[in-house]
């Protein structure tokens, strides 16, 4: 990405928020305003929606004037970001099946590799230490019933 984009991701974000503000105001209208002396459930969120839309509109104007030509993430950063986010999602999806110990081990190793922890010995040691810590803190000390998955 080079040069100055006229409409970047930050502008798109402000536009989406502007639309959300409009939707909030519209939906709130449907909840009913009541009267000023006896306000209904839609009155407050309607004004909040209008405030969001107005603030987003002016922010959008400002963003379009001063749009940053640099991308938020470079290629390596985008890769790290994608792996980290995917691992967070993996943790939630795999936990009921694999159980907390296996998921902790796998996730910690992937996190460590995503943030460029060199070799395999250190990631494995960090993963084992984290899994042990989670077991001692949550399972033994706090009696939290964490999913055990297929190991149950």
């Amino acid at each position: 990405m080079s040069g100055k984009p006229a409409f970047g991701l930050d502008a798109a974000f402000a536009l989406v928020i502007l639309a959300i503000g409009g939707v909030i105001a519209y939906v709130s209208w449907g909840y009913g305003f009541g009267s000023m002396g006896r306000p209904g459930p839609g009155l407050y969120p309607f004004f909040v929606g209008i405030a969001i839309a107005l603030a987003a509109l002016f922010t959008l104007a400002g963003v379009l004037r001063t749009s940053d030509p640099h991308p938020v993430l470079d290629t390596e950063g985008a890769r790290t970001f994608a792996i980290m986010t995917a691992t967070f999602c993996f943790w939630v999806l795999a936990m009921p099946v694999l159980g907390y110990v296996a998921v902790t081990l796998i996730s910690t190793i992937v996190f460590a590799k995503a943030v460029r922890l060199e070799g395999w010995r250190k990631p494995l040691a960090v993963a084992a230490g984290t899994a042990l810590f989670i077991y001692l803190l949550f399972d033994v000390w706090l009696y939290i019933d964490l999913p055990r998955g297929i190991w149950q």
Partner: protein
């Protein structure tokens, strides 16, 4: 019971093993978090909140404040030794602290920071101890119009003080207010924005949002950055003695920083950060040696560090007396107190006086613990600063995931946290302030209730608010502040145009 009797009672309550351990653990974790660049006190407080649930409101409050307070102490260590602020309130300390370290006075700088922080923390506590009950008494006369006006003033100040662009701050507050409106509205039991989903009936829980915005987004931000190993200045224990001249030069900056920090702490926004800049500017202006600032002036280290500790105590006043948090860490504290069914505010001094007084007593002890902890262990804390994020990030990531799941055993909360974390990452990159969003969520229900009660009270005629002097004064200040900002902006723009036209000629 008189104030002193209540305080003594508070000391008796705080001398329980669980409270002392909570105080020590909070202070220790806070110091470590302050030392580590990246993970700030707000994320840590959010992360620790679930662990305080089994131990009651007072213990939770003590631990949370210990973390916040400890972070103020720890943040300065890296500022002095490696020129990297451990957290935002220690940025100013880098200017002169690191220069002192380069001159071989790192030990003295750290000792003065610890003594200054201790003195300021104690003075701030004295202020809190005397002012909070008085203000709490005064706040009893607040009705819905006063609360509404106060809230509006807080939002105006918050939007202006938290962000480079006030509109972005205002947008974040409004988004927070909206998020708090999701779910069944307690005033008329009407479900709003639930889209028929049962999970949204009770609203979106605050904790996953806070953990995501402050924890996960920080993890993602650090993960994508390139790491450069810092060089740490060595400190020996025998070097921890400031010279007589350094001590003498520190006394008044310490006192001025403490008083100033306490009052700046009463303002909405990142008061601990603002207090350091204000204290530094004041000292530079008052100094007989202003040219020394930026080259290792003792005053430039002591005053900001005293101010940020005192500001923590100042910012507890609106939280404890009105139940209104003005900063992100106090918003987390409010959420924590609510988890224990304790609602801070004017009634707390009569309904739960033991919570307040035990908290005050424990903080006196915590302040002492931090002094003892920070002086001899400064070398150990400096070593922590060199632990690579490649080792810490995977551990913290998994603890965040398990921590938020363990609160309600709900995967939904984990999804909310991940979504908030990813959103928070981009919001930071695009310079949207996070704290106003969190404060908006926390204050949303009070704002709506105040608005609706005021409308009912005035039978829909909001103009009647002029009959309430306090509410009118607060609203006038808010309007005057907006007018001032618009005036400054318009004047700045017309000057810029004039300069450009001059260049054109």
């Amino acid at each position: 019971m008189s104030g002193w009797e209540l305080l003594l009672n508070g000391f008796a309550n705080s001398f329980t093993t669980v409270n002392l351990v909570a105080c020590f653990v909070g202070a220790l974790i806070g110091t470590v978090v302050g030392v580590l660049p990246g993970l700030g006190p707000t994320a840590t407080m959010a992360l620790l909140l679930p662990f305080t649930i089994p131990y009651g409101a007072t213990t939770g409050l003590i631990m949370m404040t210990g973390v916040w307070y400890g972070a103020m102490y720890g943040g300065s260590t890296t500022s002095v030794l490696i020129n990297i602020p451990g957290e935002a309130a220690s940025v100013v300390t880098c200017l002169d602290g690191y220069q002192m370290a380069r001159k071989g006075r790192a030990g003295a700088a750290l000792a003065l920071v610890a003594i200054g922080s201790f003195a300021a923390g104690t003075l701030g506590l004295v202020g809190l101890q005397f002012l909070a009950p008085l203000l709490g008494q005064a706040a009893l006369s607040f009705g819905p119009p006063e609360f509404l006006a106060f809230m509006l003033l807080a939002f105006v100040l918050l939007a202006n003080l938290s962000a480079e662009a006030p509109l972005k701050g205002a947008l974040m507050i409004a988004l927070g207010l909206f998020l708090s409106a999701i779910g069944i509205n307690p005033m008329d039991s009407y479900p709003r924005f639930t889209f028929g989903t049962e999970k949204l009936m009770l609203g979106i829980d605050f904790l996953p949002i806070a953990m995501g915005l402050f924890g996960i987004s920080e993890i993602l931000t650090i993960a994508v950055e390139k790491y450069v190993k810092p060089a740490v200045a060595k400190v020996r224990v025998r070097e921890l003695y400031p010279s007589g001249d350094e001590m003498k030069r520190s006394v008044f900056p310490m006192l001025r920083g403490s008083v100033l920090g306490f009052f700046v702490g009463l303002l909405p926004g990142p008061s601990t950060v603002i207090s350091t800049f204000v204290a530094y500017a004041v000292e530079k202006r008052l100094s007989r040696r202003p040219d020394e600032f930026g080259h290792g002036a003792v005053e430039g280290v002591v005053a900001p560090e005293s101010a940020n500790n005192s500001a923590v105590m100042g910012s507890m006043i609106p939280l404890l007396t009105l139940g209104i948090p003005f900063a992100a860490p106090s918003a987390i504290m409010l959420a924590g107190l609510r988890m224990h069914n304790v609602e801070p505010g004017p009634m707390m001094f009569t309904s739960n006086p033991d919570v307040f007084w035990t908290f005050i007593a424990a903080m006196y002890l915590g302040n002492l613990m931090l002094l003892v902890l920070n002086l001899p262990l400064v070398g150990a804390f400096a070593k922590i600063a060199t632990i690579r994020p490649q080792i810490l990030l995977p551990i913290i990531s998994v603890i965040c995931l398990v921590g938020i799941y363990s609160v309600r055993n709900a995967f939904f909360d984990v999804w909310v946290m991940i979504a908030a974390g990813v959103s928070g990452f981009f919001l930071r990159k695009w310079h949207y302030p996070i704290a106003p969003f969190i404060i908006g969520i926390v204050l949303g229900p009070t704002t709506e209730n105040s608005l609706r009660q005021t409308l009912i009270m005035f039978k829909g005629d909001l103009a009647l608010i002029v009959e309430r002097p306090l509410a009118t004064t607060l609203l006038t200040i808010a309007v005057a502040f907006i007018a001032y900002r618009v005036f400054v902006r318009v004047r700045g723009r017309s000057r810029l145009i004039a300069v450009e036209e001059g260049k054109g000629l």
